[in-house]
């Protein structure tokens, strides 16, 4: 009853407010003063952006005050915190979580399904929410959250090393064949120099990049069986195998937190790196003036079917009280608006999510002119699809199984065929049986 009532009132207010989404907020002023508690992770990356957004939001209206709880250092810590707080009933109102973790919160009933609130806003496109953007937060039939900051894998390269082997830094390889050949050439320089590192350790994200590149998918559409064990998956593993064999890719320490590839790259001993665009700021800082750092799009595998996985963070509403949920929605909406997105991009280097901010150069045109290293990822926006989140209680464990299996190829201890078969067997054991 109450919910219906409030929705209808919200709808009325929304209509009365008219044009831009953010203008709907004055309606809330009458609702009540709400102190909104917000949580996010990785302050090293997001602190400036979050504070800029909260400052702008708080300056704009006075009914809702946004304050942050202590940010958690990693996505993993952030997920733990919310799960613990869900058990003890101390949840914040809004939490920013890794995109592939949203499903876990949806399945545990912690993340509010945003479809109702979205419906009241009318056409999502009017708010700048494209279908792919909404898709990033849609899991298992629920709109668990809205993408806030997104990333995709890009190519980083050392232009000086390319020149040393006679390659044109302006014409970076467009295909993996060329990239692997170039890697072998660079590795031929000796002196501890390696050609490339494809960042497969840590989680399944970069493996997805190869799998999606061939047009493959992790599980069948009904999510009851593995689907990566087809020709696309085999091709992806064979490509990784070729990077090691032909591209002479070193087996740098296999951990998510390992920085051996970054160390080698910053020292000018690594020609190319393939990893998330989220690291652009940190990498350009560590490279400094050691050599000319360039970034560009990933080599293309299948120009038609090929896609790339999306990393980054999404906002979810964890408030239980309808009044707080409405206040939370206003903040989430602002954080993912064209204005919020612009603040996020300028303070982090992630890819913008809001279509209005992407299309209208007023928002970010100048920023990209001044920061060309950030451009590569934006060119791949049309290719971005969700980073697949596995269903069931073993969702995170599955990714570990995949990394462990990839290590066998990186160490050249098994063939792609054997690895694919083992990976399929193990993952099958871990997904929910119907």
């Amino acid at each position: 009853m109450t919910l219906d009532l409030s929705i209808s009132r919200r709808g009325a207010l929304g209509l009365a407010g008219g044009a831009a989404a953010t203008l709907a907020m004055p309606g809330i002023v009458r609702a009540a003063g709400v102190d909104l508690v917000v949580h996010y992770s990785m302050p090293a990356i997001f602190k400036d952006a979050q504070e800029a957004i909260a400052a702008a939001f708080n300056a704009r209206q006075s009914a809702i005050r946004v304050s942050y709880v202590n940010p958690t250092p990693t996505y993993e810590d952030g997920a733990q915190l919310i799960l613990r707080q869900a058990a003890t009933g101390q949840l914040p109102d809004v939490s920013f979580q890794g995109l592939n973790r949203l499903r876990l919160f949806a399945e545990r009933g912690i993340a509010l399904d945003l479809r109702g609130l979205l419906k009241d806003e009318g056409d999502p496109a009017r708010l700048g929410y494209s279908a792919p953007l909404l898709g990033l937060g849609f899991h298992g039939g629920s709109q668990a959250g809205l993408a806030f900051a997104t990333s995709n894998p890009i190519s980083y390269y050392n232009a000086d090393l390319l020149k040393r082997v006679g390659a044109d830094p302006e014409a970076f390889p467009k295909t993996w064949d060329d990239a692997i050949a170039l890697s072998a050439k660079i590795a031929g320089l000796g002196d501890g120099i390696n050609g490339m590192f494809f960042r497969w350790p840590g989680d399944d994200w970069m493996f997805s990049a190869l799998l999606y590149g061939y047009g493959g998918r992790m599980l069948t559409t009904d999510e009851k069986a593995v689907a990566f064990n087809g020709p696309e998956g085999l091709a992806a593993l064979k490509l990784l195998d070729r990077m090691v064999k032909e591209g002479r890719m070193p087996n740098l320490a296999a951990s998510a937190s390992s920085t051996q590839d970054l160390q080698a790259f910053a020292a000018g001993k690594l020609g190319m790196m393939f990893r998330t665009t989220a690291q652009v700021r940190a990498i350009s800082q560590s490279v400094g003036a050691n050599f000319t750092l360039r970034t560009t799009v990933m080599p293309v595998i299948d120009p038609v079917k090929g896609r790339l996985p999306t990393g980054g963070a999404g906002a979810m509403i964890t408030a239980k009280d309808p009044n707080r949920q409405r206040a939370a929605w206003e903040f989430v909406k602002f954080a993912t608006s064209a204005e919020g997105t612009s603040l996020m991009v300028k303070n982090t280097g992630y890819v913008p999510t809001n279509q209005i901010a992407i299309d209208n150069p007023e928002y970010l045109g100048d920023f990209y002119k001044q920061n060309p290293l950030f451009v590569a990822a934006t060119k791949q926006v049309p290719l971005m699809i969700p980073w697949y989140a596995f269903p069931g209680q073993n969702s995170v464990r599955v990714t570990q199984v995949m990394v462990d299996q990839l290590a066998r190829i990186a160490e050249q201890k098994a063939t792609p065929e054997a690895v694919l078969a083992d990976m399929a067997t193990e993952v099958t054991k871990l997904i929910p049986t119907p």
Binding site: Q80, P201, N251, A254, S257, S258, R408, E411
Partner: protein, 307 residues
């Protein structure tokens, strides 16, 4: 009658005083008792309960699964691998770091100069934060740009991919563990050495004990007995508890080659959110460590305390 009353009274007085003493005793012990109950007993009991459920972090409820978690563990490749890895790690790190700590302590004790300097130098790893050292180690052990391999190349040896190769990763972590533990043991041994009465060495000299080795066997080693027992137990526990180097350097990789029990416990509980399963691992771990300590204590204690 009167006499009986007086006797009763005189008996009652000490009884009352005794009751008062008991109350004061409880009062004085209360903070520690409360802390123990709240910080150790209750969590341990909760852990035991959890170990028989399928509780997941954030889940609204849980089911009793009996020994389900334990039967799953026995068939879990990752867990079995991590038990084996931990055993190897302990068997490598504990004896070597105890022996090394003792050897350096004897050298420092026997030397004339720079005792404070050497002691500080070798103790440094103990106070340095492993997490902070992780970047340094990952650089030092870097297969291509690492100083270690550069050094080896300079003398014509092809270095290994220390942390990236499943064949060497446990060895590398073990060496880091030894580096961390030897300094700690060294300080304990130094304290033990200074506690040995000088008269015993004088007596040994008079008794015709001439060589350094004979002096070590006759006086130093037996007198270090209690210290050694303590060091062995502490080092074993520290080695079994290896976690931070694994978490920061390898995360159990490549392909579980450096997976150790505490890291498995952590990933199951806090990465995979399977608290029940993680609790089962913790329970097995606690039981194993307790048994190990008891056995060690029983076996060695009788030989080192000369009562």
């Amino acid at each position: 009658m009167a006499e009986a009353a007086t006797i009763a009274q005189t008996r009652a007085a000490p009884a009352r005083r005794h009751a008062g003493e008991t109350a004061v005793a409880w009062l004085l012990a209360a903070p520690a008792t409360l802390a123990y109950v709240a910080m150790i007993l209750v969590p341990s009991l909760a852990l035991v309960v959890l170990a028989f459920t399928d509780y997941e972090l954030g889940a609204p409820g849980f089911r009793w699964v009996g020994l389900g978690n334990f039967t799953e563990l026995m068939a879990d490749r990752g867990f079995l691998r991590s038990v084996a890895n931990t055993a190897l790690y302990v068997l490598f790190v504990a004896p070597v770091s105890v022996a090394l700590g003792l050897a350096i302590a004897l050298l420092i004790e026997g030397g004339r100069r720079g005792r404070a300097l050497f002691r500080a130098l070798f103790f440094l790893p103990v106070v340095s934060l492993t997490v902070a050292m992780a970047t340094a180690w990952s650089y030092i052990l870097h297969p291509t740009i690492g100083p270690l391999n550069a050094l080896l190349r300079a003398v014509g040896i092809d270095g290994a991919n220390w942390l990236g190769d499943s064949g060497t990763v446990l060895l590398s972590l073990g060496l880091i563990g030894i580096w961390e533990n030897a300094g700690f043991n060294l300080v304990l041994f130094l304290a033990g050495l200074t506690a040995i009465p000088r008269d015993l060495y004088a007596a040994a000299e008079m008794d015709g004990v001439k060589s350094a080795w004979d002096r070590f066997v006759t006086v130093t080693w037996p007198m270090l007995g209690p210290t050694t027992l303590f060091v062995v137990i502490i080092t074993t526990v520290r080695a079994i508890r290896v976690f931070d180097t694994v978490a920061t350097l390898t995360q159990g990789g490549p392909n579980k080659a450096s997976e150790v029990i505490l890291f498995t416990m952590y990933t199951e509980g806090f990465s995979f959110f399977r608290m029940g399963y993680s609790a089962a691992i913790t329970l097995l771990f606690l039981v194993a460590v307790t048994v190990l300590m008891l056995v060690q204590n029983r076996l060695i204690d009788r030989r080192v305390h000369y009562g």
